[in-house]
């Protein structure tokens, strides 16, 4: 699928190029490539992000998902292909550039400073200030209030926003990073495996946040390993494997089973079931995996017929 061929149906607000008045994507990548020294992390990846739509990126460990979003977030620069924001060619030289056009990111490693208090982390890089010129100071009380409110809205009731963030649990820290991005993301919200460390309830909250952001008209990029999280919220699915795109689907063109099958690969799952059985795995689990394998072979059969 080509990102250029715009499916009007998926555009919420009909973004248009200010000069030509033709429709453009909020953000699009065409043939993006990136290598770290001699390691090719990403090659020829194409995808688009639109207002009010969720683009999911799925793939195994090391598939290049984080590399992809780091290019959008301005942390790395691509060395092949084009990145367009509102139809305009861009290459962000720093995360500040990306933030300035309204792209906020929840990084996989969260990008928090452990020794700093929660409220300082929440507003890091985007502090609220009052006063003039050299006497500008931070509006500390307001920042603390907002931090507490935003986290309460996520279902995290903090003991004390003055606590160093390093003292929070992994999931709580993740929630701070998400709440921060949701609060500052003006146009595009990128989430790199936001549900990885979260409990069922908080995962639900995050998925709901994604939908709320979508409904507010933001373009969302959602990275996950879990097709069960991706499918209910996603509008488009980009599947990556070893740095290459192995599929780019509109929601209407794919089912959850097909998505799972594409991600895992039927043969690999069958092998896993076999191995688990040999290792004396719990019979229920083995049965479940076998069931999944059956589903996979069924659906892959359908897909490749």
């Amino acid at each position: 699928m080509n990102a250029n061929e715009i499916n009007q149906q998926t555009l919420l607000q009909n973004e248009t190029d200010p000069l030509t008045h033709t429709a453009v994507h909020l953000l699009s990548m065409e043939g993006i490539g990136k290598h770290y020294g001699n390691i090719i992390a990403l090659s020829d990846v194409t995808m688009a992000v639109d207002n009010g739509r969720v683009t999911c990126v799925l793939g195994d460990n090391g598939a290049g998902k984080s590399t992809l979003i780091k290019i959008i977030a301005g942390l790395h620069q691509h060395d092949a292909g084009v990145l367009k924001v509102m139809g305009e060619d861009r290459k962000f030289s720093s995360p500040r550039d990306a933030l300035d056009v309204g792209i906020a990111t929840v990084y996989q490693d969260l990008a928090v400073v452990p020794l700093m208090p929660i409220w300082r982390n929440f507003f890091l890089g985007s502090e609220l200030t009052s006063g003039f010129g050299p006497f500008k100071s931070m509006d500390v009380e307001k920042m603390k209030d907002i931090t507490l409110k935003e986290l309460a809205a996520m279902g995290i009731d903090l003991r004390d926003v003055d606590q160093p963030i390093g003292q929070l649990s992994g999931g709580e820290r993740q929630c701070v990073a998400i709440a921060r991005a949701v609060y500052f993301g003006a146009k595009v919200l990128i989430l790199d495996e936001p549900t990885a460390a979260l409990g069922v309830k908080q995962s639900g909250v995050v998925l709901r946040y994604i939908l709320q952001a979508r409904d507010r008209g933001l373009g969302v990029v959602f990275i996950t390993h879990n097709p069960h999280h991706a499918f209910p919220v996603g509008d488009r699915f980009l599947l990556l494997k070893r740095g290459k795109s192995i599929g780019y689907y509109d929601k209407k063109d794919i089912t959850l089973d097909e998505l799972t099958a594409q991600m895992a690969g039927g043969a690999e799952l069958a092998e896993l079931a076999h191995e688990l059985e040999q290792l004396g795995g719990h019979s229920d689990v083995v049965k479940e995996v076998q069931g999944e394998v059956a589903g996979v072979t069924q659906t892959t059969g359908r897909t490749y017929e």
């Binding site: 977030a73 942390l75 720093s94 995360p95 500040r96 933030l99 990111t105 990084y107 490693d109 969260l110 990008a111 928090v112 400073v113 452990p114 020794l115 700093m116 300082r120 507003f123 890091l124 890089g125 985007s126 502090e127 200030t129 500008k136 100071s137 931070m138 500390v140 507490l148 409110k149 986290l151 309460a152 809205a153 279902g155 009731d157 903090l158 003991r159 004390d160 160093p164 390093g166 003292q167 649990s169 921060r180 639900g204 998925l207 709901r208 939908l211 069960h228 999280h229 209910p232 919220v233």
Partner: protein, 349 residues
């Protein structure tokens, strides 16, 4: 999977937090260890030496503390920002030499030299920071190189221009009296002569504290020291912040350099070597983490005060000054152990 819309909860008072008394809050501050140490040391010297608590003696202790403390302000901020400056000691002398040699050689008003020295001091800081950011080498190596280069330049240029190891006297030159009034005068407070550097020191500590606690630049300083990659990822200008910190050290070096020059009328070109460690020690005793991201300007000031008390207290107690270094080493060890415990408590649950 269905996603249900639930009402957002508002924060309620949390039963898991015991009310923290002001005393407990105080215990969480980085400089608390140093403060306790300073009080113990003060009481100790007050007991062993009756002269120690005399106003005049105390003014002398404060003056000694201020000559370390002024630099400790810049060095503490830099350490919180995650870097070292080994050239800070000789940079003070470089600044003083610039002012004296320039105004002497060109027979200008000394204020021209003072202005040029400020430019040179800030430039040394800028160059340190810039090389560090470009090469991504540890600041230990980069500033060790600048330390050696400045040491050589101080000696070489002084001999070349002034013809000796000491800069020529500038006491008869235009502007000397007014410059001395600004950088090296005393203020009479109730019959006690207090050196102006003490007030400059207090002012610098106040500004640095405000900067750290209340401004966005302060937030950035903690962040670049705590985790530079995370800071960059959320849009903090890491390079500018670090270069700015090195320049702040340069500014402090300029103030102390001008004091050293105008307290007399000449500077020894070989001085300053080794002082960089005193500034670092003051910052560390004051609770700044060597690894960055934690500390305070007040802590550095208390560290400098401990240094000043130990230095002069030993004299007032009429002990052999040989013991001074032992004291300093012991304080440093105790302070770093306290800091380590603090950091472990903050990082681990």
């Amino acid at each position: 999977m269905t996603i249900t819309q639930t009402k957002t909860k508002t924060a309620a008072a949390d039963e898991r937090v015991g009310k923290r008394s002001p005393f407990q809050k105080l215990l969480g501050r980085p400089e608390i260890g140093a403060l306790v140490g300073a009080i113990v040391l003060f009481v100790f010297f007050a007991l062993v030496s009756p002269t120690f608590t005399q106003p005049n003696a105390f003014a002398t202790v404060l003056y000694g503390s201020s000559t370390i403390g002024i630099m400790a302000v810049g060095v503490s901020l830099l350490m919180i920002g995650g870097e070292f400056d080994l050239s800070a000691g000789v940079a003070v002398i470089s600044s003083a030499l610039t002012a004296s040699l320039f105004s002497w050689y060109f027979t200008t008003n000394v204020w021209v030299g003072v202005g040029l020295a400020l430019v040179v001091s800030l430039s040394i800081g800028f160059i340190n920071g810039w090389i560090l950011m470009k090469t991504k080498l540890p600041s230990f190596i980069v500033t060790l190189a600048t330390f050696l280069m400045l040491t050589g330049l101080n000696l070489g240029l002084t001999r070349l221009i002034g013809g000796g190891v000491s800069s020529p006297s500038i006491s008869t030159m235009d502007g000397f009296a007014s410059a001395r009034a600004v950088f090296a005068s005393s203020v009479n407070i109730g019959g006690v002569e207090v050196k102006i550097t003490v007030f400059i020191w207090f002012a610098l500590v106040a500004v640095a504290t405000w900067l750290l606690m209340r401004t966005r630049v302060g937030n950035w300083i903690f962040a670049v020291g705590g985790d530079a990659n995370a800071a960059r990822a959320v849009g903090v200008p890491v390079k500018a912040t670090k270069i700015g910190l090195f320049m702040a050290v340069g500014f402090c070096a300029w103030i102390l350099g001008m004091h050293n020059l105008f307290a007399f009328d000449a500077v020894q070109s070989g001085e300053g070597v080794g002082n960089e460690f005193l500034y670092i020690i003051a910052a560390v005793i004051g609770g700044c983490l060597l690894t960055g991201g934690y500390g305070s300007a007040i802590g550095g000031a208390i560290g400098a005060f401990i240094f000043g008390m130990a230095n002069k207290g030993i004299v007032y107690a009429q002990w052999n000054p040989d013991w001074f270094k032992f004291f300093l080493g012991l304080m440093l060890l105790l302070a770093t152990i306290v800091n380590l415990i603090v950091k472990r408590r903050a990082e681990l649950k």
